[in-house]
Amino acid sequence: MRKIKQGILFYRMLSKRFFKKYSFLLLLCAVPVLAFCLKNVSEQESGMLHIVLCLEDKSDEAAERVAEKLMSEESILHYCIVEGQDTAKKMVQDGEADAAWIFRSGFREKIDALTERGMDGEAPVLVLEQEDDVALQLSRIKLFGVLFPDLSYSLYQNFAFDDLALGEKLSHEELKEIYEKTEIEGNLFRLAYVERGADSTEKQQNYMTAPLRGMLALLVVLCGFAAEMFFLRDAENGVLDGMAFRRREKRVYIYLFAAMVPMASAVLAALYLSGNFTNAAIELSMMALYLICCAVFCNLIRKICGTVHRLGACIPMLMIGMFVLCPVFFNLKSFRLVQYFLPPYYYLSGVRTDGLIKEMLCYGLVGMALNLGIDKIKEW
């Protein structure tokens, strides 16, 4: 009981030391604020591919309707309308746009001609690109999709008048009325995400805020490293001289948690404000386990490096290593063996799949055992 009280007292003293510097408090506040800003920014118009739309004949109603439909849709393709084919071409050439879709004059007539003559004729749309690639090829399926209502109606109309020879019995207006009154319900495809059960149909994460959890998780582990450096500095300055080696090695966890817990709270607040928070039970339990994993990991690295300068020099390498190998921006499927050594890998994969709690507990236990093992060797 006395030891626990002493530990709590030491934790409070350390917290006071950290919070005495306004810079630490400001940085903690900056984390949720930055996340909130990013969320707001991500809601603005943006896209992974930038496509310029250009109407050769501005009075062409059909082409205008297609362009308006594209502009009004929520999409990862970002569209803008420009005037003049030359402007569109220049934007593509200068790399300001990934592609230009030019709706040619006589757009509707060209579509009708193609469906009438068995797909033989002039294309109603010109696509300008610097180089063709898979993403641009796929974007053209989107273009076809947005043209399709016009194509489908044109085919239906030609079939009715040419193949079925209903020209004398039905007018264009009647034919159109029948087509438009035909209601089709339901969707042929159902989009589902594999994470958190195969039935999850939650909305796809915004690509701009998706890496946020990973970056925030790295901040927690970085805080752990910083706490280790703080500990090493204190040891160098003789602050811990009165303590036996074993006791000192136990106290380092208080340094770690005193620095990481406030950061973890800031991270949770940031996740909540950015809309990346799943549910309280999962988030809190995963964060608690993550803190334990980070603590044993940082402690091990500190023991390997030995001095404050070496640890400082090591940090960027470790941060970038985690940045690459843990699912922050990319879910790299290779280098699994290395990934198993990194705490953010468990946290980021675990939050997504709900299934790494046992692994995180094992990591914590094995890490503690390793730390104890190194301490024993040092004591000898």
Partner: protein, 411 residues
């Protein structure tokens, strides 16, 4: 001047003590960055390798009509150049999706074609991972709804035709007429390229994706590298600075000497990276088209040109260290500033991915200026205007560092 030289040498000696370890870490860091470049190239389907999106087809694929459709997609449709459709069972598909070998898989329900024929509302499930794995995969998720709309619109035309068929003679064969219309739609879908003509303009004076990411990763490296010197540059007290000032070493001189030593370390590190980068290029097969034929000369010239960029980022990091007086905040600030600037300025995603407000902001950020400067250097020309901007930023950061230290000494 003598005092300045002496102080500068003293700073160099301080740095020299940790340099071997820092250099060893830089080598490892370079390896990690090469891996990052490699993974970006692999993950980004718009890379020059033109990686296809792989989609698994699972469930009831045995129906002959469906079999024909799948065969058409695999062999005849233009999408075969962008998408690989692979037939497999659901468990295998699930495993491959988890292992990253598939972008998604489609599950076709039992008796799908018959149910569709009876007019029942049946659904194909498109299952994917929500892990942001490349532009093409994310785009595919959006295209699923496009395909759904295409099918709906075709059904609208076919059901509409059923409604007008009674207008014809009673002897008309409804089935044969519908089949003809179905075939027209299939023909139209397979020949969809006739509705757009693609004109390739070719890459003009822009950077290739690889070159752009090389610049981006280089800047990311320089932005994060500041943490390395946290143990040297975080100053808890300014008593030494005060003493030096009292002995005639002005604050501007102190800042300049310390900054110069820091910059020398950054520059040395940059040049020492040439060999590992070359080795990494050789091992991974990556090539920078701008350096074709003379890669070593290319990288040396590029790094020489990048020195002003390194000077600006060193100045920025040095200024951040002046602001902070404790280790934890120093490291956190370096990382937070470095990673935020790298993310927003286009080191990870091109700036064009972001909304216009961010693009405008990036234009003003030092990291944005550095990326623009770097891309110009990569293109081979000497960016005179951008060099002026680099000098401006450097002077601003050093000026701010002097002001902050002055205030701290007076406190």
């Amino acid at each position: 001047m003598e005092k300045f030289g002496g102080y500068f040498l003293a700073q160099l000696k301080r740095i020299q003590k940790v340099f071997p370890f820092i250099f060893a870490m830089t080598l490892l860091l370079t390896g990690c960055l090469t891996l990052l470049a490699f993974s970006i190239q692999k993950a980004d389907a718009s890379s020059e390798k033109k990686q296809k999106v792989k989609i698994g087809l699972a469930g009831d694929t045995a129906d002959s009509y469906l079999g024909f459709g799948i065969l058409a997609l695999q062999k005849l449709d233009v999408s075969r150049f962008a998408i690989d459709f692979l037939i497999m069972d659901k468990e295998e598909a699930k495993e491959k999706l988890a292992a990253g070998e598939l972008s998604a898989y489609v599950v076709i329900p039992e008796g799908f074609v018959d149910a569709l024929d009876r007019g029942e509302d049946v659904q194909i499930t498109y299952e994917t991972a929500n892990d942001n794995a490349g532009v093409a995969s994310v785009l595919m998720n959006e295209l699923v709804s496009v395909l759904s709309d295409v099918v709906k619109e075709s059904q609208k035309a076919i059901f509409g035709t059923w409604r007008i068929l009674p207008e014809q003679d009673a002897e008309t064969d409804y089935g044969a007429a519908t089949d003809r219309l179905y075939l027209r739609f299939v023909e139209m879908f397979l020949n969809r390229t006739v509705f757009y003509r693609v004109i390739l303009l070719g890459v003009s004076d822009n950077l290739s994706l690889k070159s752009y990411y090389f610049v981006g990763i280089m800047v990311l490296f320089m932005l994060l590298w500041g943490i390395t010197c946290s143990s040297l540059f975080v100053k808890r007290d300014v008593s030494l600075a005060r003493l030096l000032k009292a002995r005639g070493q002005g604050i501007a001189g102190q800042v300049a000497a310390e900054y110069l030593a820091y910059f020398v370390l950054m520059a040395a590190n940059m040049f020492l990276m040439i060999l590992p980068v070359e080795a990494a290029f050789y091992l991974t097969g990556l090539q920078i088209s701008e350096w074709e034929g003379a890669p070593v000369r290319g990288i040396i010239l590029f790094l020489v040109k990048m020195l002003p960029a390194a000077a600006v980022l060193s100045g920025f990091q040095f200024f951040l260290y002046e602001l902070i007086s404790d280790m934890i905040s120093g490291i956190l600030l370096q990382f937070l500033a470095g990673i935020s600037l790298a993310y927003l300025s286009g080191c990870i995603f091109p700036v064009s991915f972001f909304p216009e407000s961010i693009q405008r902001l990036v234009y003003l950020l030092p990291s944005g200026a550095v990326i623009r400067y770097g891309t110009k250097c990569m293109q081979g020309s000497f960016p005179a205007a951008e060099s002026g901007i680099m000098l401006f930023y450097l002077l601003v950061f050093l000026g701010l560092a002097v002001t902050v230290r002055e205030r701290r000494i007076k406190e």
